[in-house]
């Protein structure tokens, strides 16, 4: 059974969430961890807001307290780093 706190499990959960808000470009699951979500056309910058809300509500991350700029949440890897940070 997969550990729900493992990076892979968190990645799967994050990809499912991103798929629910993504634009009709290529599937988000096909993106590498370092690929830029906005540059690749998967998200627009307004959708980053929904990522911020997801981080706050599901993972209890306070970006302001952590000093994270929402504009830096632009790849799956970067978002996972914030979740695990």
């Amino acid at each position: 059974m997969t550990d729900p706190t493992s990076r892979d499990a968190r990645r799967d959960q994050l990809v499912r969430f991103l798929a629910s808000i993504q634009r009709p470009a290529r599937p988000v699951a096909e993106l590498g961890d370092d690929e830029h979500l906005i540059d690749s056309g998967v998200l627009d910058s307004m959708a980053i807001l929904q990522v911020v809300m997801h981080l706050e509500q599901v993972h209890g991350v306070d970006l302001l307290a952590r000093g994270v700029d929402p504009a830096s949440l632009t790849s799956i890897g970067a978002i996972l780093d914030v979740i695990e940070g």
């Binding site: 629910s20 830029h36 540059d39 910058s45 307004m46 807001l49 302001l64 504009a71 830096s72």
Partner: protein, 480 residues
């Protein structure tokens, strides 16, 4: 044919050919040809050629070109008019142009050097400054504005005001980058984009170094793909320019009575003359004028943005378009993002997110405050700074005349965006109804909203709030 042209930069054969000397000659030749339109474009052409021939010195070439451009402006006292389709190498109301003085150019250099030094030393500055560099920067701008109001006619203070407002948003991006750390970057890396060569002194097209650097060509193939995408955009700009010219020639009544028009001109009144009341029209014609005005202004902005972004791409920065099919947007928030992408990004990064992150209230109220911070407060503040000329000369009546209708404009814009975002969120990721008639209805709704909103934003020397309100209610058949 059009689809093939659209995918030009993805076509492997074309990309390979374009890397050959003959291909480069063709790309740059065509690019320069498309830019030979007016004086600023002629100035842009050699910069593009040099920047693409020495990619490793690209930022240096652009920095030097920026300095020379301003020196040239100061030398000849050139004050460019942002004509349709022109490449606005020179900024609006550049200090060099406004004051016809090389000293003003030196002042711009000094301000850039000082802000760069502040950005580099940001981690070692006192706590408040380190945490709130944006507030500190705007405090400096407002202090100079205040000083200029207290000492009207003081040339040095006025030049300072023009200089800092000239660089406002570019320095804002520099400071934002500085908060994330400037490691590995040099002054020249930040110098080239501080010149308002890309989009005048208003919105920095391409944003700051973080965004530009991410999209900068790192090898010949990336450069060629960027250049082909740039050529495509310049061609598109020409196409929209033809449509805009056709609108002026055959549809829209001339803006001045003595202007020459074609015998086949339909004489559709301009929105500004309808609001002024100088042109009587039936209800149907008034509505048509509202919608055609939206199309006209959108295409004009697209032409201008495509030329600027086209040039950036030819230089090797494959950045997003400023305008991307806004007339096909199916929601208000989508239109806002597609109409003027870089303005939206500016408002989002400097007003929306800081507000959203700081407020810990209910989700709807939180969103409301953040949207109003960006689309209302930020938008108003941005346009207030553009009225620097009236402010330094103490003409507060003119400042208020310009801002009073923008106040209404920004309020309804923010309200519309907020409601649109709530609607989008309530769908919880479910796709919208794809049937064509539903799609058409959504697009029509967007046109209607932004067409009506334009009434509060259309320019005209004699237009006041009462005129606009009178015209607005008359569209719904209410007596005025």
């Amino acid at each position: 044919m059009l689809a093939r042209l659209g995918d030009l930069h993805e076509n492997e054969r074309v990309v390979r050919l374009a890397q050959e000397p003959i291909g480069q000659l063709l790309i740059l030749g065509l690019g320069v040809l498309l830019l030979l339109h007016d004086t600023p474009s002629v100035l842009a052409a050699p910069v593009i050629v040099f920047a693409s021939q020495w990619p490793e010195r690209r930022r240096l070439v652009l920095s030097v070109a920026g300095v020379l451009t301003l020196v040239h402006a100061a030398w000849v006292g050139l004050r460019p008019v942002p004509e349709l389709g022109s490449f606005e190498v020179l900024p609006w109301e550049a200090p060099g142009a406004s004051f016809e003085s090389l000293g003003a150019v030196a002042l711009v250099l000094l301000v850039i050097a000082v802000t760069w030094a502040v950005a580099v030393h940001l981690p070692r500055l006192p706590g408040w400054l380190r945490r709130h560099p944006q507030l500190a920067w705007h405090a400096v701008i407002l202090s100079f504005l205040g000083l200029a109001c207290l000492h009207p006619g003081n040339a040095l203070i006025q030049t300072l005001v023009y200089t800092v407002t000239f660089l406002t948003w570019r320095v804002a991006y520099l400071l934002k980058h500085a908060q994330a750390g400037l490691a590995g970057t040099r002054l020249v890396d930040h110098f080239f984009y501080l010149w308002p060569a890309w989009g005048g002194s208003r919105v920095p097209y391409g944003q700051g170094l973080q965004a530009l650097g991410r999209r900068e060509a790192g090898n010949d193939e990336e450069l060629v793909r960027s250049q082909l995408a740039g050529l495509k955009l310049l061609l598109l700009a020409k196409l929209w320019l033809v449509v805009v010219s056709a609108l002026k020639l055959f549809v829209l009544a001339p803006s001045t009575p003595d202007a020459r028009v074609s015998d086949h001109n339909l004489g559709l009144p301009r929105l500004s003359s309808l609001i002024e009341g100088s042109h009587g029209a039936s209800l149907g014609v008034a509505w048509l004028a509202v919608l055609i005005e939206l199309v006209h202004v959108t295409l004009r902005l697209a032409v201008y943005g495509h030329v600027v972004i086209g040039c950036l791409r030819l230089c090797g920065f494959n950045v997003f378009r400023n305008t991307y099919k806004p007339l096909l947007a199916e929601s208000l928030v989508e239109f806002w993002g597609r109409y003027a992408y870089y303005f939206k990004e500016l408002m989002l990064e400097l007003f929306f997110y800081p507000t959203f992150l700081r407020l810990k209230v209910g989700p709807r109220l939180r969103m409301f405050c953040a949207v109003f911070a960006a689309a209302f407060v930020g938008n108003l503040y941005f346009h207030l700074l553009l009225e620097r000329g009236s402010m330094v000369s103490g003409d507060w009546a003119e400042v208020w005349r310009v801002l009073e209708s923008r106040l209404v404009y920004c309020f309804f814009l923010a309200l519309g965006i907020w409601l649109s975002m709530l609607r989008q969120q309530s769908r919880r990721g479910e796709p919208v109804d794809p049937r064509w008639h539903r799609r058409l209805l959504r697009i029509a709704g967007v046109w209607l909203f932004f067409g009506l909103l334009r009434i509060w934003n259309v320019k005209g020397d004699d237009l006041d709030l009462a005129d606009r309100a009178r015209f607005f209610v008359s569209l719904f058949g209410w007596p005025t």
